[in-house]
Subunit: 357 residues, 2 copies
DNA sequence: ATGAAAGCGCTAACAG
DNA sequence: CTGTTAGCGCTTTCAT
């Protein structure tokens, strides 16, 4: 049995077939079809007609082998099931398609080894470039190797200090600072930050990653601005309680001098805060004001509706694609670090501070 | 400038390089590397060593051109941002990777034209097979064409009546029937079904798709079983109110003889029901019992926690991958239709019926 | 068990 | 503007 020559009536037409049908040479047919070089209008028309008639579809594999381009991008993210990455991925696939690229998807679950493996497999598949939300701040040799090896890499959502690669991130510091300022503005002084530590529900109990760090820094900056020097008392980074946000929050809210407002660094944490509040019979926002990162479906459906810091998730993905394609298509400019603004969406979960027993 | 021959110190090693280094012919090197045919143990070892030394990585493109296999699967889903499809996609990518395949992702937004385009592009990319959650029950010619054209297709989540392709779906009828039975069992008689119509928040206001249809049929069957013949009064398929679930629910709950229990066909609808209930000062579950499809994060974090019909989302994707790979690797058995069971997770949103004013 | 040679479908130098 | 001629990197008969 021949391996790849389709038997049966409809063997896919190839360039020689089209050329024969059009009465020109393969090169001319190729030029006409791929639209490069110079071809006389009439020849071009004959080729187009022949291709049409034979139902010719170019073999991208063969083309890629020559051009060295597959028009395929690799997306290496932590977990597509995380709404944040789902949105980002949506932005990536849409922007890629619009630019004529397809996307190979890989999940890492924040595991650097899985990330390395994914990068390797995708490079073996000859992706033209890689979009990665790095799982580690230190284990990044495979990323630089890819980049210098001709497979450009764009960092998504997380910046890595000494890595000179393009990055597209969100202004986490500013967003957190702004949110906390709003709480301060309505009289809150005992403001907590609750986080699961790490990047969006990461497993790593040590490394808060660039996003977590930035959010904490923004929180502290806002407090300091307001003359609050002790910025650590109400900072909860959840390496305890087996990462259960509700327990973490309960512990915090049930303490002697509980906070009057909570800033949650992601929506899962916010859910924990909300249910802890309900268990302790604290009303939101009367007894406790709440702001969270990420505008999920439930934040605007629940009562009271929750005020949030919305991240431009799709735009994040789209910008990463644009930056990457710029590199793929030859850009040699110095690394660009794009920071996207967040949007504060005011709803009903924040009230003026008042005393609690 | 030569197009594809990498300049610089590290031109990727090819088979000839390895063969030379090992002192054998290309064919032998190829056989040893790809592990087929017969190669003497010593030669094999020399080749392995040479490959190792030169950091040889096989060019999958070239290999694919010959073997006709890319070890790449295409996943064509409605919307990766929908938690249902996010979970399914997670299952797909994981199962694929475990079997040595990668996944190209495409979104359709329930648009048949987008689906056709995606199928075309993916086939051009020579995917070995396609997993599709079809956007239309009728516009499916491109699917059969792909399948008979050597690119096997597995239907995901939705079955299409006259399409003889493998399918992996969930027992929507049984799940709905079971949920409604539970409501009947605790005394409810006025039980509503609220749906956005169509498959998981589809745009199409006409075609409820196989999943929507099955859920409604299960609902009606349960009612009929209980001797309730009028199964249409409390059936709301949301082609009104601009698809806003909260308005739909409000309308329903604010009627003269409102239902005492609601079965929501997806979590977004449930959120609408919940907020409508709160606006009307109806307590859950005392005044209104609620069950919804899909076990989202908020369903178990909110108070009261919501009883749900959980779908095996990841398993759905994984099974589809297995079925597809079976075809890709030559299976010629008749189409298989796999139906996965759902799981009812009892929490606190259902109470015994009592009279309402 | 091994090597020589053919070729997958396409593009890209280079002549004409 | 067009055709001829080489390959891309790999697998796979077919001899040996």
């Amino acid at each position: 049995m021949t391996t790849n020559r389709r038997s049966g009536p409809h063997r896919p037409a190839t360039i020689p077939d089209v050329a024969r049908e059009a009465g020109v040479s393969r090169s001319t047919a190729s030029r006409a079809l791929a639209d490069y070089g110079s071809v006389s209008p009439e020849a071009r028309e004959r080729v187009r007609a022949a291709a049409q008639k034979l139902g010719y579809r170019p073999n991208q594999l063969a083309r890629s082998m020559i051009t060295g381009r597959t028009h395929t991008l690799g997306a290496v993210v932590a977990d597509i099931q995380n709404p944040f990455f789902a949105g980002v991925t949506r932005g990536i696939t849409d922007a890629a398609r619009a630019a004529g690229y397809q996307v190979l998807l890989a999940n890492t679950d924040e595991d650097p080894a899985a990330e390395r493996a994914a990068v390797k497999t995708l490079r073996d598949r000859h992706v033209d470039g890689l979009i990665v939300s790095p799982a580690s701040t230190t284990d990044t040799a495979h990323l630089t190797a890819a980049h210098t090896g001709g497979c450009p890499v764009v960092l998504l959502d997380r910046r890595v200090p000494r890595l000179d690669l393009d990055s597209v991130t969100v202004d986490n510091h500013g967003a957190a600072q702004d949110a906390v300022r709003r709480l301060l503005a309505v009289g809150h002084r005992r403001i907590a930050l609750v986080s699961l530590v790490g990047n969006d529900a990461a497993d790593d109990p040590v490394d808060p990653g660039s996003t977590g760090l930035a959010r904490m820094a923004g929180y502290r900056a806002a407090l300091r601005e307001a003359g609050i020097d002790d910025t650590g008392t109400y900072l909860r980074t959840g390496a305890f309680h087996g990462q259960d946000p509700a327990l973490l929050a309960r512990d915090l809210l049930d303490s002697p001098a509980p906070p009057t407002a909570v800033f949650a660094t992601d929506s899962l944490v916010a859910l924990g805060v909300l249910s802890a509040a309900r268990e302790l019979s604290l009303r939101v926002p009367e007894d406790l004001s709440v702001i969270t990162f990420d505008d999920t479906d439930w934040a605007r459906a629940v009562r009271p509706r929750i005020s949030v810091v919305a991240q431009p998730v799709q735009e994040l993905g789209a910008q990463a694609v644009r930056a990457l394609i710029a590199r793929v298509e030859g850009g040699t400019h110095p690394p660009e670090h794009t920071t996207l603004p967040t949007e504060f969406i005011e709803r009903e979960s924040v009230a003026r501070a008042r005393n609690r027993a």
